[in-house]
Symmetry: C2
Subunit: 354 residues, 2 copies
Amino acid sequence: MIAPLPTGSTIGILGGGQLGRMLAMAAARLGYHTHIYEPGDAPAAQVATAWTKADYGDGAALAAFAGAVDVITYEFENIPATTLDLLDVSQSIRPGRQALSVSQDRLTEKTFLESIGLTVAPYRDVPDAGALVAALVDLGTPAILKTRRLGYDGKGQVRIDDSASAGAAFDAMSGADAILEGVVPFSREVSVIVARGQDGETVCFDPGENVHSGGILRTTTVPAALSAAQRTDAALLAGRIANALDYVGVLGVELFVTDAGLVVNEIAPRVHNSGHWTQAGCAVDQFEQHIRAVVGLPLGDGRRIADVVMENLIGDDVDRLPDLLRAPDTQVHLYGKSEVRAGRKMGHANRIVR
Amino acid sequence: MIAPLPTGSTIGILGGGQLGRMLAMAAARLGYHTHIYEPGDAPAAQVATAWTKADYGDGAALAAFAGAVDVITYEFENIPATTLDLLDVSQSIRPGRQALSVSQDRLTEKTFLESIGLTVAPYRDVPDAGALVAALVDLGTPAILKTRRLGYDGKGQVRIDDSASAGAAFDAMSGADAILEGVVPFSREVSVIVARGQDGETVCFDPGENVHSGGILRTTTVPAALSAAQRTDAALLAGRIANALDYVGVLGVELFVTDAGLVVNEIAPRVHNSGHWTQAGCAVDQFEQHIRAVVGLPLGDGRRIADVVMENLIGDDVDRLPDLLRAPDTQVHLYGKSEVRAGRKMGHANRIVR
């Protein structure tokens, strides 16, 4: 038996964006306080009990933060290892550091996924220009050159359509360690969100079908058009990853559906944009499952009770708000960001399909 | 056309309990900031952007609060008139003062409801002991003696089963103005939550069926066991009240279902405990409808999309949390109150029935 943190305890959250914001609201629903650590703008702080506005390298601020909270979680995976070192001495971090180190580096992540028997896109390590040439010979074109670290929403990657463009692609990495990935011919992109509790109990949300544009998620639709076998495969695969990492919390797994089976594109050790539909489609959503796991409460009922289409509101998509607010069966979630910028996620809408 | 308050504006909320807390979370979902005004403990402040902890008679604090917010709303109707006078000069209060003055006084409320053609329980004004004797002769026993002001959750009322207990009942009022109400023979208690926008648009949630115990709401079930005609009557009646008050926001109307039709028990110019089911049963819940109305946004889709049983968690009901957290199809909402007391509303659970 795990003794959960008592109601009224404080959950520290590294990162103050929309994911931290929705985590903070889920924590409040369960009677917990939240404390956001975020050096920049912090939409999450608007709904949190406290906010430390300090740099991720600020040892004194990190120590004070760790001292003020009862457990630490995070909304993004690119937390510097030095930050974790400073926090780790005094406070539990959930999900644990193995999940972070695996997911912070595309090469480590792929190696790990293969080591537990899963299929990933073909890849080659590209430490230098010569390795890129060899990798292109192996994998052919088109292929995608990606930085090993710090990529998200399509950033840090360049598509190589023919070998003539390889030099420019390599230069675009600005010397960062990279990998080359073969392009997988897939019929659909889906993701599966899995929650794992401190007692090892694992609960999967229904897979969602994703449409990306310009590297950014546009919509997630549930149910995804998958066979029963594919659905089961997706859940088993996500559970296998969570177990192998001795994971605590919610984990997002992006998958390609191919003729040869499910191929893991990438994993994210946190709540995931493709899981926002759970707010309208489940009794207990991904944010609450994450909080439950982190504080040691039992996981809730995440079965899908409605079909949902989640649409991200990106940049001036928010101009459509007057219509979305009136749309039937539609929930709008805005992130409290003051400035609208192209490509910036401003909110999302969950439309229940019935 | 109403120009809504821009995203990022601040909504001032008088009162910092669970209703203010859930209003603050709904405001956040729409990108608004909230500022709580509450002299005591303030669970709402945990999820608000700011908190003024000051007395309702503190003119300087009220002026600063009014200056810091873009509109004012409230989570309870017993706001002192002097507080409203101090705020009213500088800031819009929604719902407006007419709704407050009507609902703060049971005698005024009943007179108003009758004036717009609705049926209320038979009642008599009881300014003194002699009036009580006359009223008991008129209405018979059993009857209920209620203070005109400041009653809630069964407080401020005494049941009179026979004339011998009238003296003790009168003494229990401690000199407060009171009314005597006849007991209405009803088959069910239902309530209907109506939202009215600044443009006069009115949207009703489905009526819920309520079970009270010791004067406190225990459960609300939707759909209520009503005929189609009763359902329509309930919605029309609630709309009539909202229109007559030129109301802006969410209004709760408690009704008795009798052989002679629907009898209005009381109205509450705010989000209402019997509307908590909307969090699990509708795309847009009562808290968000209220915020939308208050800031001038269009009302959302409040149609019922699931059957729900809402159960209040009162006092040591929270000991059942481990089971409730694991219960199928169940959402738990806790209010962040540190101290468990008998009769205190600690949270609620929404169970989706399918």
